[in-house]
Subunit: 108 residues, 4 copies
């Protein structure tokens, strides 16, 4: 079954989605929100795509490879932005994004 | 067919989703992003719920009423926040949200 | 943080989403697809709502309670349909749905 | 603004999402559901991706091109399956899918 083959990818996508949404929420509470604007934007992009790909894998979508390719690009962009910021939520998010980008590339 | 009965609601939901996502994007480009933080958060909530309900209606979901009830509450909260701000995108968004809240209440 | 308070609910939602999407996929491969039509429909409803609520919780949405109320109703309906069928994927799905319905009610 | 540049694409995506979800619903009501299994699966894939891309465009996502590329492939696959079936909902869906595939390719 697709969702068993991809068990590790599913876990990585889920952790990335959680990290991005937590970062989105935390960025909106920061003192300097303006500095976090691009981070907020990319957190949403990345969380939504990871959540989408989780669903696609578990329903055995015929398009997992194509979606994983796009997801890898989005994770990488989000990780690159997040790692510029010293907040713990950004550093954790960057780490989750880069791990997820690698896992998605392997599946693409 | 469900999506024919609900044609006006679908149009209203779609306009609200567009207005919220445009407002989300525009808020992130504002000079004072911090002042817009709650608006950014609620724009995402509202766009996602409107998009979700559009899909639910068009696939003839048995849960349109329950979802419309929640969507009405989210639209109202987003409209209340948006109308506090003078930006054109916020005022347009508030208008779309209040119209959508009414349409959702009628369907709930 | 919201996603820490709700760690158990997140796990339950995720397992329910996986079980529903796996059941959706497996039902479409069954010999008698017609008998599974309502199951296929409700699996999609339930997977989508669980995935939506997972995202809402992790982004600290102000609407978790309202969404959890709707999610409970959808999980229950999906569980009731799935438990009518003897397929292993349906029985597993029903179990995940009922567990998730309870967790959502507690959060609502 | 992104959502103004892409006004025609947004309309086409929306019509495709509606046609796919209507076809999904109608296929589940057909006498011979088994024959429609692949159609049901692809209708969900296509509706979800079109809805996702609508949201991405309206929030000015930096990944519209990449997403449009995947969406084009999904629309084409769904259109190819739908056009095999004589049901009016399948023929309408195939038409909407092919139109959307073209529009997505142009944006990709």
């Amino acid at each position: 079954m697709a969702h068993e083959q991809h068990q590790q990818l599913l876990k990585t996508l889920h952790e990335c989605m959680e990290a991005c949404n937590h970062c989105f929420d935390a960025c909106l509470e920061e003192e300097d929100v303006k500095m976090m604007a691009e981070c907020i934007r990319l957190d949403r992009e990345c969380a939504d795509m990871c959540a989408y790909l989780e669903q696609a894998i578990t329903r055995n979508s015929p398009f997992v490879k194509e979606l994983a390719g796009v997801c890898a690009a989005i994770c990488e962009a989000c990780g690159n932005e997040c790692q510029k910021h010293n907040h713990v939520h950004c550093q954790k998010c960057a780490e989750a994004c880069f791990e997820c980008a690698m896992a998605c590339k392997a599946a693409a």
